[in-house]
């Protein structure tokens, strides 16, 4: 099978789940009519009594890579985990303010988190493949959300693995355990797994912090490839990474957004002294 046919086929499969704006009704029109994927307005977040987020207001542009930078404990991962409500798994976590994905209120208790997490995929700091085969890992999401026959499923798995630039390395051992892969391959597998559910937004929480430079580069290239179709938000401690692969950068400090601008501005002529000190490596 050639790459050409695969590029189109699985997309059609996914369109049944996440239809394109033209074919869809007004519920996703609202999202597509703006140029922002996620909008936060005066968002406050707590873990128990500790306030981790203060008055966060920012708009994540669609189909771009947005980087969150800042010293450890500054709230960037916390904010990321509110974007798809992963914080629900943390007992003491709560938030107030306004956080929207298109017209969906992300903080409303009534929000269907299952559907939300299909639309807003997440890749964690440490690769967390399930103790299953490579194929089953990628097929996990589609099996949950879609009714696919065998060949449709295997096409979708292949497409996802190709998208995540790991297909060549695993195509001959799809039934081998995913835990036998190297760290970098595991992380790309996790990206493939996230892509396979057809998300609009891809959240990446320090996806390269446990990887060697070659794997890191592979994942950065991958983000570059993916930005056409996905809105990507990446948390990173690596200044070079943020400057290399993001379009916009938000600098966080002590639970607040100090500065949010184009990456070029943040790294060349930031308006805040704090930002400048951080990106120059003077603290953090």
């Amino acid at each position: 099978m050639t790459t050409k046919t695969l590029e189109t086929k699985p997309k059609r499969i996914m369109n049944q789940v996440a239809p394109t704006p033209s074919a869809e009704n007004d519920s996703t029109d609202a999202l597509d009519s703006t140029q922002y994927a996620i909008e936060a307005e005066k968002l406050n977040g707590w873990y128990g009594d500790f306030q981790a987020l203060h008055e966060i207001s920012l708009k994540i542009p669609k189909n771009q890579v947005t980087a969150f930078i800042g010293p450890s404990g500054c709230g960037k991962s916390t904010l990321l985990r509110w974007f798809n409500r992963m914080n629900d798994t943390i007992f003491s976590a709560r938030a107030s303010g306004d956080l929207r994905l298109g017209d969906i209120d992300l903080l409303a208790p009534s929000t269907d988190v299952v559907d939300l997490r299909r639309r807003v995929g997440i890749v964690f700091q440490k690769a967390n493949p399930f103790p299953k085969s490579i194929f089953e890992n990628v097929a996990f999401g589609p099996r949950l959300h879609m009714q696919l026959n065998k060949s449709e499923l295997s096409d979708l798995v292949e497409w996802s693995l190709r998208k995540a630039a790991v297909w060549k390395e695993v195509k001959d051992r799809l039934n081998a355990p995913a835990l036998g892969l190297s760290g970098g391959q595991q992380q790309r597998l996790c990206i493939a797994r996230a892509i396979a559910t057809g998300p609009e937004v891809l959240l990446m929480d320090e996806p390269c912090s446990a990887l060697d430079p070659a794997s890191t580069l592979a994942i950065e290239d991958l983000m570059d490839e993916l930005r056409d179709q996905y809105t990507i938000v990446i948390v990173t401690h690596n200044m070079q990474q943020a400057s290399r692969c993001s379009d916009k950068t938000a600098f966080f400090f002590e639970g607040r957004v100090v500065e949010f601008d184009t990456t070029e501005t943040i790294f060349t002529k930031p308006s805040s002294q704090k930002t400048e000190d951080y990106v120059r490596g003077r603290f953090g």
Binding site: N84, M86, T89, F91, V114, D115, L116, R117, R118, G121, I122, F124, K126, N128, P129, F130, P131, K132, F140, G141, L144, H145, L179, C190, R193, A194, T197
Partner: protein, 326 residues
């Protein structure tokens, strides 16, 4: 200024001398430490070998007395392994068919496991994956209390409470019956299954839960499709340990199951298990040291072989299904 330097120089030379004195003493202490280390090492080896010695001598006694049993004229191996008629006390018409006792043990164990395994696993899943922390903090100690009740208490609970209840439900239950004993053994094993299975579920890394939830799985999806398979080896170990415990359980069956060995699958009937028979023998029902007395060792040895093979099966299963998460 100069004086300060001189002073600090002087004090540093005395400090040097002091330090070298202390360090040389430290070297002597090192020798003592080494001797201590050797003493501890020997003590540890001795303890290790002591446990080995106990195991070997118990097996040795069981084996020699079992061989003694088979040397009696009235005992044949074909009768022992090929019959379900266990009547060692019937004078002239003695028969030593071990299946009469094994069937009793299996019936009680089967009833106990049919009760304890599903209930234990479901409770473990609830506690590990669903229960709010407060509920969990309340339920876990209660389960531990349940595990700490002496088995003789379960025994008379079976005889005085479960059996009358069963008889009230259905008239066909004997005063001594397999069902009552089986249920009590099941209640006994339930906390074991529950707590070990819960440990197995809890040891699955949170990152796998997050992974499943992050892909849009419900809590049930995460539990059934990811966490349970990942914890499988631990859960199977918990099951096998519970089975071994049920097979070896003695007081409950001695009190509630009766003393009539027979190969039956009717849970209303009086039966006798291997352990129950041994209690009867060792408890002094026979005073002479004849065949029936030594038959106790043959039963004990059989029981030992059964639990040993379960333990080995457990090890194989653990190795076969072990998942490494990293």
């Amino acid at each position: 200024m100069n004086r300060d330097v001189a002073e600090s120089k002087a004090s540093s030379t005395t400090l040097d001398a002091r330090a070298s004195e202390l360090l040389s003493r430290g070297r002597k202490d090192l020798a003592i430490t080494r001797i201590k280390e050797i003493v501890i090492y020997v003590a540890l080896i001795a303890c290790g070998f002591f446990s080995l010695l106990i195991t070997v001598s118990i097996i040795g006694v069981l084996l020699t007395e079992t061989l003694r049993f088979f040397r009696f004229d009235e005992v044949t191996l074909s009768n022992f392994l090929g019959s379900a008629e266990w009547t060692p006390l019937l004078g002239e018409t003695k028969s030593f068919g071990i299946w009469g006792l094994i069937s009793g043990t299996l019936l009680v164990t089967g009833i106990a496991m049919a009760f304890a395994l599903p209930l234990g696993l479901v409770t473990a899943i609830y506690l590990s994956e669903y229960a709010p922390r407060k509920v969990r903090d309340l339920l876990k100690p209660i389960l531990e209390v349940l595990a700490g009740i002496p088995t003789v208490v379960y025994g008379f609970f079976a005889l005085m409470t479960i059996t009358p209840f069963l008889q009230w439900l259905h008239g066909g239950f004997n005063v001594y019956n397999a069902m009552s004993a089986g249920l009590a053994v099941g209640i006994l094993c339930f906390p074991t299954v529950c707590s070990l299975a819960e440990d197995a579920l809890q040891s699955v890394p949170k990152s796998l839960r997050d992974g499943a939830l992050g892909l849009g799985g419900t809590r049930f999806d995460a539990t059934i499709k990811v966490i349970l398979p990942a914890a499988l080896s631990g859960i199977i170990s918990a099951f096998l340990l519970a089975v071994a415990r049920a097979i070896g359980e003695t007081m409950i069956v001695a009190l509630a199951a009766g003393s009539r060995p027979q190969a039956t699958i009717d849970p209303r009937d009086e039966i006798q298990t291997m352990t129950g028979f041994m209690v009867q023998m060792a408890g002094g029902d026979v005073s002479n040291f004849g065949t029936e007395y030594f038959s106790m060792y043959a039963v004990a040895f059989t029981l030992f072989l059964i639990t040993l093979s379960l333990t080995m099966l457990g090890n194989v299963v653990r190795r076969r299904y072990r998942e490494t998460y990293e």
